[in-house]
Amino acid sequence: MTDPALWSAAERAAFDARRRSRNLALGILLAALTVLFFGITMVRMVPPSGEVQAKLQAQKPGWDGR
């Protein structure tokens, strides 16, 4: 890799543009991961449907703490 101190203005501009695009991509990726984890948590935390609830109650009375 050539010494950055020896870069021409055009090489410096190209380097900056690549670095900017990488940083932007990384930012989008982190935001997407946040949304992904939030979504997984929400879906997994949804209370069981009526049918599943009935099965659980039949297996273990008082499962809901009552």
């Binding site: 890799m1 050539t2 090489e11 190209a14 380097f15 690549r18 670095r19 695009s21 990488r22 932007l24 991509a25 992904l36 979504g39 997984i40 879906v43 997994r44 949804v46």
Partner: protein, 309 residues
């Protein structure tokens, strides 16, 4: 020095500047990923059970990222031979746009991340199959067999077949006979598909020193093997038919019979072909293109069966 003989990965050009995000994306082999996503998604639809649409999306995403991670690790290891082939010389590592260490780290992070998310969000059976698929592709296919045996494609076919097990397990939590039949279809489809490609790309593989069947055993033997694998493939696709095991319906059954007959017909044309020049290998190119349509139509019909039921 013959770089094709070295077992250590080698970046063949100096890294000139920081890579663009597109170079990282190219490491994931997005075109290969498409097929893996498609087959895994079809297996998810065909598997018995219900899955929340968001979790189904997460499952497909994990399969895609894992396939990409395996592709990145493959490119990290194969930078030396990629530099020798026209088709792959412009990839980020041989072209010198990325350092080998960056590609390795990228591949490892994505591999671990996809397996962990699959385990936490879906189930650990699917996560285990996902880990096996990455490990098989990287260690068994890329590092062990690809440069050592002309049967590399046969073994590599298993790596491409694991995603159907992952897709099925993410919905059903297990892998019954039908999941393994789908595995078998992709496993047996891979040799005729890639050997057809290898026939008209033989010069490239020969230059890179990769022991592909046309390079080691000649064109005639490759054509014979394509025909035998085509018979085995079509036989495997008939297993789920109503009246045999009844695991699939008639939308799948009629598609498997019709397209299977065409596949055999094209494979016979390849077997009879005597072309030695890539430009004249029309039968081989036709089989290669048709094989893509064939796999897509089989899995598409499987989904249609579920929707029609």
């Amino acid at each position: 020095m013959n770089t094709a003989q070295t077992s250590e990965p080698l970046s063949t050009a100096p890294v000139t500047a920081f890579a663009d995000w597109r170079d990282y994306f190219a490491l994931l082999k997005p075109r290969v990923m498409t097929l893996v996503i498609f087959t895994a998604a079809c297996a998810m639809v065909a598997a018995p059970g219900q899955l929340h649409p968001f979790l189904a999306f997460v499952s497909v995403l994990c399969v895609a990222v894992a396939a990409g991670a395996a592709g990145a690790l493959n490119q990290w290891y194969e930078a030396d031979i990629d530099a020798l082939m026209k088709r792959t010389a412009n990839r980020p590592l041989p072209a010198g746009r990325l350092a080998a260490g960056e590609a390795l780290t990228f591949g490892i992070v994505l591999s671990v991340g996809s397996v962990m998310i699959m385990g936490l969000a879906l189930n650990w059976v699917a996560a285990a199959w996902l880990a096996v698929s990455i490990g098989f592709y990287v260690f068994v296919y890329t590092m062990w067999l690809k440069r050592r045996t002309p049967q590399n494609i046969v073994i590599g076919g298993a790596a491409g077949a694991f995603p159907v097990l992952v897709g099925w397990a993410s919905v059903a939590g297990d892998t019954p006979l039908m999941a393994w039949v789908l595995f078998g279809i992709i496993f047996l489809w891979t040799p005729p598909h890639f050997w057809a490609l290898a026939l008209f790309m033989e010069a490239d593989y020969s230059k890179a020193g990769v022991p592909m069947l046309p390079v080691t055993h000649g064109l005639a033997e490759t054509r014979r093997q394509i025909l035998w694998y085509s018979f085995a493939l079509v036989a495997c696709t008939l297993v789920p038919l109503p009246g045999i095991t009844g695991l699939a319906g008639w939308a799948y059954g009629s598609t498997a019979i019709f397209t299977g007959a065409l596949f055999i017909a094209f494979a016979v044309q390849v077997y009879r072909s005597t072309s030695v020049s890539s430009a004249e290998m029309f039968a081989e190119k036709r089989l290669f293109k048709f094989s893509l349509f064939y796999l897509a139509s089989l899995f598409g019909a499987l989904v249609a069966d579920v929707w029609l039921a």
